[in-house]
Symmetry: C2
Amino acid sequence: MNLEQLRKNKKIAILSPVAWRTPPRQYGAWETVASNITEGLVDRGWDVTLFATADSITQANLHAVIDKGYEEDPSQEAKVVECLQISEMMEHAEQFDLIHNNYDFLPLSYTRLIDTPMLTTIHGFSSDNIRRVYRKYKHDSYYTSISDSDRDPELPYLATVYNGIDLSNLTVGDTRGGKLVFLGRIHPDKGVHLACETAKKSGMDLIIAGIIQDERYFNEKVKPYIDDKHITYIGPVGPPERDALFKQAYALLHLNELPERFGLVMAEANGAGVPVIAYDRGSCREVVADGETGFLVTNVTESVEAVKKIDTIDPTACRRRVDECFSIPTMVKAYEKVYAEIFRLEDQKS
Amino acid sequence: MNLEQLRKNKKIAILSPVAWRTPPRQYGAWETVASNITEGLVDRGWDVTLFATADSITQANLHAVIDKGYEEDPSQEAKVVECLQISEMMEHAEQFDLIHNNYDFLPLSYTRLIDTPMLTTIHGFSSDNIRRVYRKYKHDSYYTSISDSDRDPELPYLATVYNGIDLSNLTVGDTRGGKLVFLGRIHPDKGVHLACETAKKSGMDLIIAGIIQDERYFNEKVKPYIDDKHITYIGPVGPPERDALFKQAYALLHLNELPERFGLVMAEANGAGVPVIAYDRGSCREVVADGETGFLVTNVTESVEAVKKIDTIDPTACRRRVDECFSIPTMVKAYEKVYAEIFRLEDQKS
């Protein structure tokens, strides 16, 4: 079957996590991607059922047994809600031609008990322990990575599919903003204190936005920099408000100390025409085109140097690259190719 | 088929948790019961496969994918190990005629994907949230309770099967010991401080044994009583050393503040001829025969009164009741009846 025929004949189930609503109100990277895949597939004519929380918003068919995300309703227990969400999907597996799992490793443990092929987007290895599950089930689920750098050498992958972001709420301003911006979880891995150092040494203002995931780190390493004048913390910022934040941005600082798996926020900033200064670790060199949409650096000194060169980065070039590489249609077209390949491989088996 | 035929023709899988070895070295109540069921069934001629950690000890066939209990090897991650243990069992379900699940609620979420009937012994509701899983799968797994008191009114049960304990290492001494004994996890639910109060007010010595599960509770509420003379803490005591401990016991204090689900340790003490003074909550009145194998009390004053009356309890009567009601053969015979009933019900279906 060609793509047009597949779209008409195949039923797709998208399995989203239930930590947050799909799409999430604010933080929730996997739910965001699951939402973008779902809506993008519907836009391209696929018959899609989204397995997500009952308060989720989608054009697809919504199948829900969990009312609210367990991170949004502390009366729930993650372990209970997770097994109910995943088993519900598996119990309906035969209604679908393909399951696209965006829910980490647990669903893999059900795959040998169902007949429907499953694609698992590996959104990241949260610990080395979970690699064992991916390895056991490497012939039971197809895998895609979200960047070339975030691959396990012992796993087979069908493709790398970069995350696609919703560009409808992101616009390139007429003028460059004047402040440095950090946007992400406040956590030691994210190098928020390095962003503060860069701002100090550059003599520029910095806006810090994001949920505080590590209170101690925030209090000890970030708070001392905050003076509510030059360096401010504004709390979490949901997707709709990001454009306004990016309008104020001279550059996004993404000085992650741990290798990035993909780095949605870098694509978002570029999508709003904002250059990105990123530590050259993990996927950053795949997302940021060095010298074209931002700069890759290895320490704060280089980060300060990069701030001085920001004028050489053209905001429209940033946006153009995101349109080409990290838009929802680009991602969905890539997944369509992967789906087609899976259907071809499955046909060969039978 | 009668029981003799079932024993010859049916293959049983026992699913044990992998928090600890089966049987556990020290603490690990569910692994203890799973071991007792397994060995008891083998003794009675059943073909049994035990799914447990690789270092487990059994006369049955051992099927293991997890080397060590995750509580004994901190490099492991419970969530990973749990799903691998359970899925391994499910992937081999068709090799068995009955799965006996001693692994809480997670295995239920796989049951609609397999054809083999499953019996789940509900060892307790660790939180209200997990009831939801038991309710969803109430027609997919058969249930037994471990006491009449530990039942959820919305669930159907085939029977209550009391836990059976290994009596081979427990002997009734010629003379009564002289000390009060607490044996269990050091945790607020377990009322260790009430045992201390009872000892103080009775003017009797107390030996406290068990793992410290709540360090703060131990330090604040228990440690102040410990003088290493009248009240001593001796750490955890494995099953083999319990008989020696019970030889020193005048009575076991079991002043649990939370309703007990079953209370293995009460049966163990009685099995060594030691009377039990227990708070009258949950299953305690099913395990302890008031005035015959110990006393049920509702506060420390009554507990102190009960200590004075211990002479009226006959150690051999304690042992006799345990032989009759809480021995491994008694438990296994009860499970045989349940298995036979399940096979009968399954035959009716097909």
